[in-house]
């Protein structure tokens, strides 16, 4: 169980990195934390011509506030985010979600960007980003572009990244005053990818709430919805039902070895309503 041959490239600058991507295109894979990629290489499920190791690009490890947003670079590790005071204050939902990501050991090297770029349908990081309405930054020799994560992830392990682009950062909308967050998931074992995960946040408006709600593991990519809601009666139940139905009416859950579509649909409702209840109940109007 050893990788097939490939060329190893370790750029020292971002320009070199995107230059390599321009050179190899789809035939290169970017290695950051390497936990998923390393396994795929060993199993020969991927056979790139080149592996571009970006671990020398220390410029990419920043976690910083940019205006109202938090920008996490391509080398920001999951453990860095958990320890970061910026994330602690501005991204409580991410902190809640990261507790479910892998294990202490894998979070030590695993990156936020790597997880989103890998686009596993159950991944917690992408679900948090989608629920918050964040963006993905892509860089190539052609320039830098930003797109909402909902447009970036196309399906299971499929993204809108062009062959010559790399994910260089994620942009996370920062917390708004009075924001409450909730994250729940069901997995077979502790630390496994979720069968279904649900994330929600809400903050009070003058009347009603501003909210975000997302479901992971149900369909082939995270589902998320954001908006303002002014319930007719100021009832948590009504808000929960209304927001949940807005996603759930068209739900088309996956079915696989681990879980049936029926079970996923049921968990989506159970966990979805649980997180919504939790955030709406806590926000005074």
């Amino acid at each position: 169980m050893k990788p097939a041959p490939f060329e190893y490239c370790r750029p020292e600058t971002l320009d070199e990195a995107v230059g390599l991507l321009a050179e190899f295109g789809d035939e290169a894979l970017v290695m950051a934390g390497g936990l998923s990629l390393g396994a795929l290489l060993n199993m020969r499920m991927v056979r790139p011509e080149a592996v571009i190791d970006i671990n020398s690009l220390s410029v990419l490890d920043a976690i910083e506030m940019v205006g109202d947003e938090v920008r996490t670079g391509a080398l920001a590790r999951q453990a860095d985010a958990l320890a970061s005071p910026i994330c602690g204050v501005a991204l409580p939902l991410l902190i809640a979600g990261l507790g479910h990501v892998g294990h202490y050991q894998t979070r030590s090297r695993g990156t936020l960007c790597g997880s989103v770029a890998h686009a596993d349908p159950s991944a917690e990081t992408a679900l948090c980003l989608a629920t918050l309405g964040g963006d993905v930054e892509l860089t190539s020799t052609r320039g830098v572009r930003r797109m909402p994560v909902g447009e970036f992830i196309l399906g299971a392990l499929a993204t809108a990244r062009e062959g010559d682009e790399m994910v260089t950062a994620l942009y996370w909308p920062g917390a708004i005053p009075g924001m409450r967050v909730a994250f729940e998931e069901i997995s077979e074992r502790h630390g496994d990818f979720a069968i279904v995960a649900a994330a929600a946040w809400a903050a009070p408006l003058e009347s009603g709430w501003r909210y975000g709600f997302g479901l992971g593991g149900v369909e082939d990519k995270p589902l998320a919805l954001r908006g303002d809601i002014v319930p007719v009666v100021e009832s948590t139940e009504q808000a929960v039902g209304e927001v949940f139905d807005a996603i759930a009416l068209n739900l088309s859950p996956m079915s696989d070895q681990r879980a049936s579509a029926d079970y996923r649909r049921h968990l989506a409702e159970h966990l979805g309503k649980q997180v919504l209840q939790s955030v709406f109940e806590g926000v005074a109007t």
Binding site: E188, H190, G191, I195, S260, H266, H270
Partner: protein, 803 residues
């Protein structure tokens, strides 16, 4: 420190094995390079569950720089004969596919190269022309007339069938007040030690012989089988254990076909070969516990007495019968009554070939499947008859004053007090409180259940029990088989240093430490003064057909051989010291490193000096005494006789006992099984080392709990293997295991001088059914199957029940 103040045995002696393991100095098979010029092997494995091999073209692969050679099934078949088993069906088993592949993952070609990377590259360049055939993976489906046949030389896929009757089950069932009938599928599981298979094979021409280093764990009855397959005599096949083995739980028995393959390949390619199995190979192609389609009928009288049992065991052996199979269905056979008095028993065994990996030893070996039937039946009967499940078992236990107890199918239970064990279980579990919890939970609509299980734990196998696969007439024709001989050797060298050699090939069970405790007590020394060699080298001669690490053999038989050989050394030391001190041997005791006059602490001579005299000055020894201090004990427990004409056999030496209780609540919304309590009481006889015994109980529980909740080697209906990685085959982690409360209820075994019983398998045998019983009780349904995954439990909790 131990049971009495002077004893090491019984004490919590930290393991002698640990220092090397904790510092990275312990050497495992993949660390070894015993010879120059070793080449590295990768195996090309079949992607198809069933296919004819039309052609294998290795030309492109052979041209890859660094490739030494490539062999296929036809090369190997020219040099070897098929591996045999106790099943006489015409099922030829070679370690590599010849003409046909019969399971996904079966070896098809062997590549030797400069390193493993290149060897794997070359496997991708081999062009195999397969003609895919329809596959069958379910044992009942494989019995149907339409099913694809794996071995054309056989009549069909049913390759073994025997029926057994003990007592008069027909009459028992005719007078039953209640008959419980259950049928179920038991899933495939694997013990997955953290170290995979590994071996280095070397063929030499002068003299003509093979040397094989590996982490093979025995039983060494397989050594003559390997020699036969290689068409050589036993002394031409030297097997050498690596110094440490990274876990086994039985599965490293299944390594032996690869040893034959590598040995033959080393000869054909003219160089030593090393192969380290990777995890994908291990999960898909090494060995697994049997999946089964079983049924049971249990007859009770109106008092709740279990009066009759009928077992219908349909065992999926996979693509081939690999010795010692069909032992997995015969291991529990002689103890078919479990821990109960029932004497009228029928057993129907069928072995079926399918397009799955061959089965073999895995922790609990046959026990989890056996107890799933018997103990599901007991809990189901209790609910049906409205008798408390603990009380139902108590009424049926073999009573404590009838040991040694001869079970209807021939097992001789050495000692026990099952009712005492159950009382202790109810006490430590807080059963009365748990029942109140259950009532309260149910009153508020929650799904709360309590499951029980009880059973015996056979240890120290009779090598002959597998011959129950043959009729008495066939056995008579084949010649007698019996026994389970242990070999232990103790020496004291000219410097006065003690060395013990074991034949138990441990894989982490701490045999070296316990052996040192036993010898230290016998010789009046300290355990750390005793060097124990557990790596077996067949050329040293210190082994028997039964040698190896399986069926809890160590604490049931091997310790007896250690005590015997150490005792002979002690006697000789006392005789020599008596001569030197001019007192009678009876007046000499060994204590604190000295041979001293009984009752006179400051007297005597250092043991090292006494020992030295036997080496340096043999002429000075008492008349007739042989020089040196070398004692080898070969010990075969008397009880291990050949099966009789009525198919009764004393299948094992000691029979431990355990009983468990699980209290669970099921979240109907999610299918999560929340464990409120898991308690377990064990009778392992005398506890030789509490650290090690606790470790075996906790480890066995972890295996049993994983099997109950998560673990399954899955195949789709077409025979494709779906559990190829550790992200698919889910082993429990530290965050997934519930707390385990356990206690000992001790009855010493008369079967060996230490009073200990074999242990280590028990919890892995019983925990799966106990969890199933708890979930069945919580949901009030009888059709519970394993593993109890979230989706499955959720579905059971929310759909109509089938009771």
């Amino acid at each position: 420190m131990g049971d009495s103040a002077e004893d090491w045995v019984g004490g919590a002696v930290p393991r002698l094995e640990d220092a090397a393991l904790l510092s990275g100095n312990a050497r495992f098979i993949d660390d070894l390079s015993p010879l120059p010029g070793i080449r590295h092997v990768a195996l090309l494995r079949s992607p198809y569950p069933h296919a004819r091999i039309r052609e294998i073209d290795t030309r492109a692969a052979l041209e890859l720089p660094g490739v030494i050679g490539i062999l296929t099934g036809s090369d190997i078949a020219e040099l070897t004969d098929p591996l045999v088993s106790a099943v006489r069906a015409p099922v030829a088993y070679y370690p590599i596919a010849v003409d046909k592949v019969r399971y996904a993952g079966e070896p098809v070609a062997l590549v030797a190269a400069e390193d493993r990377y290149i060897a794997e590259d070359a496997t991708e360049l081999i062009a195999c022309d397969f003609e895919p055939l329809p596959a069958v993976v379910d044992p009942l489906a494989a019995l149907s007339k339409e099913a694809p046949i794996l071995h054309e030389a056989a009549d069909g896929n049913l390759i073994h069938e025997r029926e057994f009757t003990y007592g008069d089950p027909a009459t028992a069932f005719s007078r039953a007040a209640e008959v419980i009938k259950l049928g179920w599928r038991y899933p495939r599981q694997s013990s997955t030690p953290m170290e995979t298979y590994g071996a280095i094979a070397h063929y030499e021409t002068a003299p003509d012989r093979y040397s094989v280093w590996s982490n093979f764990q025995g039983p060494f009855i397989l050594q003559p089988l390997m020699a036969r397959a290689l068409r050589i005599l036993g002394n031409q096949l030297r097997l050498i254990s690596a110094p440490y083995s990274g876990g086994s739980f039985g599965i490293k028995q299944g390594l032996y076909p690869y040893l034959v393959l590598l040995a033959a390949a080393s000869r054909l390619l003219g160089c030593p070969l090393k192969w380290t199995e990777d995890r994908l190979e291990h999960l898909s192609g090494s060995s697994s516990a049997s999946d089964r389609a079983d049924a049971i009928e249990a007859a009770f009288d109106d008092e709740g007495q279990l009066i009759g049992l009928r077992y219908d065991n349909c065992v999926n052996v996979g693509a081939y019968v690999r010795a010692p199979e069909p032992a997995s269905v015969y291991r529990m056979h002689a103890a078919s009554n479990g821990c109960y008095k029932v004497r009228d028993i029928g057993v129907w065994n069928r072995l079926v070939t399918t397009n799955k990996t061959p089965i073999g030893l895995n922790r609990g070996y046959g026990g989890p499947q056996f107890y799933f039937g018997l103990e599901r039946a007991m809990d189901t009967a209790a609910r049906r008859m409205e008798i408390d499940p603990a009380e139902l078992r108590r009424r049926n236990f073999i009573s404590g004053d009838t040991f040694p107890y001869e079970a209807p199918a021939g097992a001789i239970y050495d000692s026990g007090d099952y009712a005492k064990g159950l009382d202790l279980l109810l006490e430590i579990a807080g059963y009365e409180d748990l029942k109140i919890c259950r009532d309260q939970a149910r009153a508020s609509g929650r799904a709360f259940g309590i499951g029980f299980g009880a059973g015996v734990e056979p240890s120290g196998s009779n090598m002959a029990y597998v011959t129950l696969a043959q009729t008495p007439e066939e056995r008579a024709k084949a010649g007698g088989r019996s026994g389970g001989t242990a070999v232990a050797n103790v020496t004291i060298d000219p410097t006065g240093a003690v060395t013990v050699r074991l034949d138990s090939t441990p894989a982490g069970q701490g045999h070296e430490t316990v052996a040192a405790q036993v010898v230290a007590d016998t010789l009046g020394m300290r355990p750390e003064q005793i060097r124990v060699v557990s790596a077996l080298d067949t050329e040293g001669g210190n082994w028997s057909l039964a040698s190896g690490n399986y069926a809890n053999r160590f604490a049931s038989i091997v310790v007896g051989a250690i005590a015997e050989s150490a005792g002979r050394i002690a006697s000789k030391l006392r005789a020599v010291a008596g001569d030197m001190l001019e007192v009678a041997m009876e007046d000499v005791e060994l204590a604190d490193g000295r041979a001293r006059i009984v009752g006179v602490p400051d007297s005597g001579i250092a043991i090292g000096r006494v020992a030295a005299a036997t080496h340096w000055h043999p002429a000075g020894l008492p008349d007739g005494m042989s020089p040196g201090l070398h004692e080898t004990a070969l010990l075969n427990p008397d009880v291990l006789n050949a099966p009789d004409g009525a198919d009764r056999v004393a299948s094992a030496v000691t029979f431990g006992f355990l009983c468990d209780l699980a209290a669970v609540e099921i979240e109907r919304e999610t299918g999560r099984v929340l464990i409120h309590r898991y308690a377990s009481v064990h009778d392992v006889g005398r506890v030789l080392n509490p650290i090690i015994v606790e470790g075996q109980i906790r480890g066995g529980f972890a295996h049993g709990f994983g099997a109950a909740m998560f673990e399954e080697l899955s195949y789709d209906d077409d025979g494709n293997f779906l559990s190829g990685t550790f992200a698919d085959y889910l082993c429990p982690t530290s965050a997934d295991l519930p707390a385990l409360d356990f206690a000992h209820s001790r009855t010493d075994s008369p079967a060996n001088p230490l009073g200990s019983k074999g242990m280590g398998d028990g919890s892995s045998m019983l925990t799966p059914v106990v969890m199933a019983n708890a979930v069945a009780d919580a949901l009030g349904r009888d059709d519970v199957e394993l593993p109890l995954t979230l989706n499955k439990v959720w579905q059971m909790a929310n759909e109509g029940s089938e009771t």
